[in-house]
């Protein structure tokens, strides 16, 4: 009677939200594909229908299977990424596809699940304490390997894995990792906006203030100095890397965002068009299939990474609010479910699921509305593409299976 218990225990809220997002995604793909000769909406419909058997398989598999074979899945995932260097097919400048005739598969979409399983598996050992530097190194290795393999093809997507750091923090990773990351991001952005010398000056003043504000016993002139030197070095290297290592199109993406470059026909075209499409939606949008920007095909990649522009244009602020609301509800629900897991494995995996969904959702919409550099990250469940849809479906439903199974795990 396993199936029955799954049916009874599975979290229907998540399933309803999931289905809503997939259906809404398809409607928007339908609308945006009317302007292109390719009938992407038909293909996407096939992908969606195929998720149904996929979901049944995931739910049918024994709950213990994922924990047991986590390492194997992880290694297969890494191999599939490594194989891209040899067999990969280049589409739109990114070599992250295996192609089988007319059908292509993007392994990186599945490696997210594999890595989450591996991290969860590693941390599920009750002996593991993340206060231990060795352990920290080991877990960062698990995280780092897929990043290393993905960066050459698709540097933007590597960002996704950084979200796992926050999951690790939940499991006991020292706070200074988060602080370091936070300060690094802050300094990075400042360096792009202002001259390095001002950023260094700012770092110096902040360090001095922090030094004198802290209690006498905590003051450590040596540590503060080292910290300051590190920050200065970081700022200078960001400046150097930006000017000398980054390619022009990378630099452009940042410059457009910061308003340093205005080039509406070239590199700025995407962002400008997507802002126009969303901005012209108003409160209630222009109506389904009535979006002029969508019909005219002005927004590039509208059915994939820029699918949210269709939502903005045709459904307006209300539509955007609904979509954002559904995502936030789903992710918070997953976190809530993760917190009530009986095993550390499923809790960590649930957190990873929430983190990965969140970072995709945030980066994608932020990019589309012009507050984040252009990174090819899909909007989960929404964007066109079989690999993406299946990848996220697998990610989510493995967790839902674990959640439904928790009663049996006494």
């Amino acid at each position: 009677m396993k199936n029955q218990s799954v049916k009874k225990n599975i979290d229907w809220i998540c399933i309803i939200i999931y289905s809503a997002l997939v259906i809404m995604g398809w409607l928007n793909i339908y609308s945006s594909s009317l302007s292109s000769p390719e009938e992407t909406y038909q293909k996407q419909l096939v992908f969606i229908l195929l998720t149904i058997p996929l979901i049944f398989i995931i739910l049918a598999v024994d709950g213990k299977f994922y924990e047991k074979y986590a390492s194997v899945i992880y290694i297969i995932g890494l191999l599939s990424l490594a194989g891209l260097f040899v067999f990969g097919k280049t589409i739109k400048g990114q070599t992250n596809w295996y192609s089988f005739g007319s059908f292509g598969i993007q392994p990186s979409e599945f490696v997210k699940t594999a890595t989450s399983l591996a991290i969860a598996k590693y941390l599920s050992d009750s002996q593991i304490n993340l206060k231990d530097t060795n352990r920290q190194m080991q877990v960062l290795c698990i995280l780092g390997l897929p990043i290393l393999l993905i960066v050459p093809h698709d540097p933007g997507s590597a960002l996704i894995y950084c979200m796992i750091i926050i999951v690790l923090y939940r499991e006991g990773l020292p706070a200074w990792y988060i602080w370091t990351g936070f300060i690094a991001i802050l300094l990075f952005v400042f360096t792009l906006i202002f001259e390095p010398i001002y950023v260094i000056l700012f770092a110096l003043i902040t360090t001095i203030i922090v030094y004198f504000k802290s209690r006498l016993a905590d003051r450590n002139i040596v540590a503060s100095s080292i910290l300051f030197v590190l920050m200065s070095g970081f700022v200078l290297s960001v400046d150097y890397v930006f000017d000398n290592v980054f390619k022009q199109h990378h630099r452009d993406r940042f410059n457009i965002l910061l308003g340093k470059t205005v080039d509406l026909k070239g590199i700025g075209y995407n962002t400008n068009q997507s802002e126009i499409a969303i901005g012209s939606g108003g409160w209630f949008g222009k109506g389904f299939l009535e979006g002029t920007q969508t019909k005219g095909g002005f927004v590039p990649e509208q059915h994939t990474d820029y699918i949210f522009t269709t939502v903005g244009e045709e459904w307006g602020f209300i539509g955007s609010l609904v979509v954002v609301g559904l995502f936030v509800t789903l992710i918070l629900r997953i976190i809530y479910l993760a917190e009530r897991q009986k095993t550390k494995f499923s809790r960590v995996y649930g957190y990873c699921t929430a983190g990965i969904l969140f970072i995709h959702f945030f980066v994608n919409i932020a990019m589309v509305i012009g507050v984040f550099p252009t990174i090819g990250v899909p909007l989960p469940f929404f964007s066109y593409g079989g690999s993406g849809l299946w990848g996220f479906t697998i990610l989510l439903f493995i967790f839902l299976k674990m959640d439904a199974n928790k009663v049996n795990e006494w």
């Binding site: 926050i166 409160w283 955007s320 995502f327 936030v328 932020a366």
Partner: protein, 646 residues
């Protein structure tokens, strides 16, 4: 607490996204426009402008096709500039300047690159248009003038400017609009309503179908034809008579208030403001601030009416019962109305109303005026009584006619005199110059003509108007509304007899036309100009008012010729000729016609040469008189109001 980090980040991040989306979609509304600009193409279908006919159905203004070359700057690709410029006969600098200007308006929206090509220019361009991406031709209709007169009546067609676009959203850059004359006043009727078609474009700027199945598309409504009250024949004749002169002629049909002729001189051929030479010619006209051909003297020039105003002094005197027909005043070549103050007059002996009018006796009307103002002990009350009588003839106010420009003229009242003499008790003697049409009184030629029409009607008038018929539509009801004066009908009889005797025994006895009983009155206005810092007296302005025939009048007319000398020298003959032309369709007084056509006042006007509008020109009216001490009391007010009229 570590649990809370991820949920907090999620909620904060999602809120930031929503704020930004809210800003894009709801607060910042520039995107809507941008979206329309790049996804929707609007195509206008300009209807043909309505034709203009005269009162007898003669076609005055029709249309001709014209072709504007339009440019969408961002769509220009691989243009062979040299060939393009050569084909259209524009210089490279001109080309660059026009493109730059179009870009400033909008790189995405069409602007006019070159307006109003004729058929052959268009044909040459059309042949090669495929080579010039970003350019296309918009067909429009342009005015085609069937006559070479009436420019001030028609006005002209021009491109809308930014101010108009802002005020009237109907107009888009490059649209045409009527300016001045009936083209401006009846713009809405003549213009029709342009049709709009919306098309959905794709990113390659291809049209991919109509926008929302044509839900917002409209069909052009053609402009309506109109008939003017103008009689083309006398309009043409009036303009011909005014060649080499400056001034205005207004003729009105008294029974209806229909304007028969509205002549201003100098004028211009309306056809010069059409086509590619338009802006060059317009600049020439506009820059001529001395002759000022764009200034409609018949509607805008305010002159002291001079002697014709005596008609009203007489009528008010009769109505107020301070005189009757037989009341007699002595004239001793003038009239000493106060110690040391003397109003000169050419007459001598006793004058009654009748010979007072036909001799244009200043002394007589000065006495009448003193009695009018002296009737009441309260001088301001008396002044206002007089003022209201005069105003009932449509003076001192905008008359409400259907032409876009006009002036009020001026009829003083007690309020004005309180301002001029704040702490001084004035009396009839102080303001006695009003009696003979000077002082503070100012009138435009159309007001003079309307005054004559009212006299001809013996006490009523219809608001002068120029519209006779709008196809399928009745004209404004206000033009059918009778305005009655405060003067009783019976008092007009003796005055009209006096005006008739002007032709029998008076100042216009040489201007009679056999078989037509004309009633008229001469007027003359002195005027001065400062030339090289010196005050120089110029030839007097020649004024004449008349109506005919005496019984059942068909035409009332006012003529004003700047620097034309005595009223009977130029203005009077013109009145006779115009009246004969209108009533008989031919001229028997060939001698008069020859004389008037031969008169050129160019030498007079040359004296004014080099002066601009702002120069001080002083005008004082007179009818073979001058007022002693006049300057001392009136200089300020008179110069202020008359400066611009010269």
């Amino acid at each position: 607490m570590r649990k809370l980090l991820l949920p907090s980040i999620i909620i904060i991040a999602a809120s930031l996204l929503l704020i930004r989306i809210f800003y894009l979609q709801v607060i910042n509304d520039t995107f809507k426009l941008k979206s329309e600009n790049n996804a929707i193409k609007i195509q206008y279908d300009y209807p043909e402008r309505g034709y203009i006919y005269d009162r007898n159905g003669k076609l005055l203004v029709a249309n001709q096709p014209s072709y504007d070359i339009m440019v969408i700057p961002r769509e220009i690709k691989n243009l062979d500039t040299l060939e393009f410029c050569k084909l259209l006969d524009v210089t490279k600098e001109d080309f660059l300047e026009k493109i730059a200007k179009a870009k400033i308006y909008s790189p995405r929206l069409p602007s006019i690159f070159l307006p109003q090509l004729n058929k052959s220019e268009y044909a040459a361009f059309q042949e090669k248009i495929r080579k010039f991406e970003g350019f296309y031709v918009q067909k429009r209709s342009l005015r085609d003038y069937e006559v070479d007169f009436g420019a001030n009546i028609f006005g002209f067609i021009t491109q809308v400017n930014d101010r108009i676009i802002e005020k009237h959203p109907y107009y888009k850059s490059g649209d045409l609009i009527g300016k001045q004359g009936v083209e401006e006043y009846y713009e809405d009727i003549l213009r029709g309503i342009k049709g709009v078609k919306y098309f959905q474009k794709d990113k390659y700027n291809r049209l991919i179908g109509s926008y929302k199945e044509g839900k917002y598309d409209t069909i052009a409504v053609p402009g309506e034809d109109i008939n003017l009250t103008i009689d083309a024949e006398i309009q043409r004749y009036g303009e011909q008579l005014m060649i080499n002169k400056r001034g205005g002629i207004v003729a009105i049909e008294p029974k209806t208030g229909e304007i028969l002729a509205l002549v201003t001189a100098p004028s211009y051929d309306p056809a010069i403001l059409v086509g590619r030479q338009r802006s060059k010619n317009y600049t020439l006209l506009y820059r001529d601030s001395i002759a000022n051909p764009l200034y409609d003297r018949s509607l805008l020039a305010e002159y002291p009416p001079g002697s014709p105003f005596k008609i009203l002094t007489g009528l008010v005197g009769l109505q107020e019962n301070v005189i009757d027909e037989h009341t007699s005043f002595m004239c001793h070549h003038g009239f000493s109305y106060a110690p040391g103050r003397f109003m000169r007059c050419h007459g001598f002996g006793p004058h009654q109303l009748n010979n007072g009018i036909y001799n244009s006796c200043n002394s007589y009307f000065a006495n009448v005026y003193l009695r009018i103002i002296g009737k009441y002990r309260n001088t301001p009350y008396a002044v206002d009584t007089w003022s209201n009588h005069v105003k009932s003839f449509g003076l001192g106010q905008f008359m409400g006619y259907d032409l876009p420009t006009g002036r009020r003229g001026k009829v003083p009242n007690s309020k004005l005199y309180k301002k001029i003499y704040p702490d001084w008790h004035y009396s009839g003697k102080t303001i006695i110059s009003n009696s003979i049409g000077q002082g503070e009184v100012l009138m435009t030629p159309i007001q003079l003509a309307n005054m004559m029409a009212t006299v001809a009607n013996e006490g009523y008038y219809y608001t002068p108007h120029i519209i006779k018929k709008i196809k399928g539509e009745r004209i404004d009801a206000k033009f059918k509304e009778k305005h009655t004066t405060t003067i009783d009908k019976q008092y007009f009889k003796p005055v009209i007899q006096g005006l008739f005797d002007v032709y029998n025994f008076g100042t216009a006895s040489a201007l009679r036309v056999d078989g037509i009983d004309i009633c008229g009155k001469t007027g003359t206005a002195e005027n001065f100009a400062k030339i090289g810092g010196k005050r120089v007296q110029l030839e007097d302005h020649s004024i004449f008012v008349a109506f005919a025939p005496k019984d059942n009048p068909k035409i009332a007319i006012a003529i004003m010729v700047e620097n034309g000398g005595f009223g009977s020298r130029i203005a009077g003959p013109i009145a006779s000729l115009m009246i004969e032309k209108y009533l008989r369709k031919k001229i028997t007084r060939i001698d008069l016609e020859k004389r008037v056509l031969g008169i050129s006042l160019k030498d007079q006007y040359a004296k004014l040469g080099g002066m601009n509008e702002a120069s001080a020109i002083e005008t004082t009216p007179k009818d073979s008189i001058s007022l002693r001490k006049y300057k001392e009391t009136k200089t300020n007010t008179v110069t202020d109001t008359t400066k611009k009229n010269n």
